[in-house]
Symmetry: C3
Amino acid sequence: MLLQFLDYIGVAVFALTGAIVASRKGLDGLAFLFFATMTGIGGGTLRDLLLGVPVFWTLDDGYLMVCAGMSALMWFAGPLVERLGKPLRWADAIGMAAYCVMGAAKAFAVTQSAMVAILMGTMTATFGGVLRDIVAGEKNSFLKPEIYVSAALAGSALYVGLRMAEMDSWVAAGLAASFALILRGGAIVADWSLPGYKSTVDK
Amino acid sequence: MLLQFLDYIGVAVFALTGAIVASRKGLDGLAFLFFATMTGIGGGTLRDLLLGVPVFWTLDDGYLMVCAGMSALMWFAGPLVERLGKPLRWADAIGMAAYCVMGAAKAFAVTQSAMVAILMGTMTATFGGVLRDIVAGEKNSFLKPEIYVSAALAGSALYVGLRMAEMDSWVAAGLAASFALILRGGAIVADWSLPGYKSTVDK
Amino acid sequence: MLLQFLDYIGVAVFALTGAIVASRKGLDGLAFLFFATMTGIGGGTLRDLLLGVPVFWTLDDGYLMVCAGMSALMWFAGPLVERLGKPLRWADAIGMAAYCVMGAAKAFAVTQSAMVAILMGTMTATFGGVLRDIVAGEKNSFLKPEIYVSAALAGSALYVGLRMAEMDSWVAAGLAASFALILRGGAIVADWSLPGYKSTVDK
């Protein structure tokens, strides 16, 4: 139930970020729809393909409707959304937090491997956004020093660790998603970042 | 039968567009082969992966031969092809029209969901070309205002609607592909486009 | 056994190339980890998805550990690795040689189609690197005239040909991987390249 809810939240806010990018580029209504859908379901689609389970949105039309709803919201009420502050970065952060837990939980249930679950949580939390940025021709999260991928990794790892310690899945999911969100929030508010590699050789 | 034929047509003309891009970039013969193959089979591959059915070209060597044939055609008779006018845009349009019907038909048969079938038709009709453009470092269709993705969506939706109204699959496929082609053709000939989003906030 | 070994080698050296790219871009430790992992397992993941078999690294944690080890190596001993000469290009060459044989072998065993096996060997030997270059925003191998994709194709084709001639799989794998490596090595040392297409029409 909580996981189902996190899943919808993750899809919805990622879809919103896709629609925001489409709006900032001045694209047409269909591009809104496709940027929203691609960003919303991208990560979970990759997760399901890699796990060899049926792709989640082919079984439940609700996910596609959520994506369509988010692009409509942005198309008709874009200025309202933009007035919220840094809506793109915050929606992205919430989506990442929800998705890393979902990805790790599903992968852990299927493979029972902690390592695979952590990687899958991280990949699927970041893949939708990276796909959005590549198709939009923008710089993607892997190339920026700010904490983003690391927050997804930390959230996935915490979830898997808590589950291995037999903690209840609701509590574990809540704690892990909050942890990922706090780390990412710190990066947005206070510019937290990881140190970059300083090469000592000429290239 | 008609669907089988549309499938080969879609693969062939998309493969041709891949080879045209390779030729315009002055790439070598193998790059012709791979741009042709990637563009030709990209959309259908994504469709089959998402539907969880065997990838079509792993079952029938004919598709890969068609892609190889198209790169050879372009390599040896490129100037002839280029003299046809706007071969890249028209081949792309025909491929898109054929592919959106095929994608929607296969997805509708497998999932019975109209929404999934429409998305799948649209995605798989546009994915090969987007992949081609990303690998080639060109601006992709999602970022251009002209009617392209919307034509694929309209074709997919018409096919699914006609099939739900119990129309014969041949007639439905023919009508839907023609509709998509006319919409896209209008964009090529008369610059039809969808209105872009006009933001009222500063970024 | 030999194939298993080639598989680890391919993953390891591709992972190293991912980490080298991360280091040259001055990215953080996690970006090292993800560039290494994405490049290391990318090709094989695509191969397994297309063949409809379980994705290899979901069954054996060793592959992910190898990727983690390679990013650690580069993070802590990067200058040492860089002092080896052209480590990026050579590691990439070895990975390509090992991966094209692995990809062709697995695809041939599953589909029994020589054509599919050759394409799969070539695609999976080049996909990890292309993915790395697209995410890093660099020019990818398909767009460069030097021999790279063609070496992977030659290696895959030789392996399949030798196997069809009933040659022992170890010998065939060794010969094919060496052949691919020699072709690519020639491109690195002596700038071997394929002739590009010379268009005779204005664009």
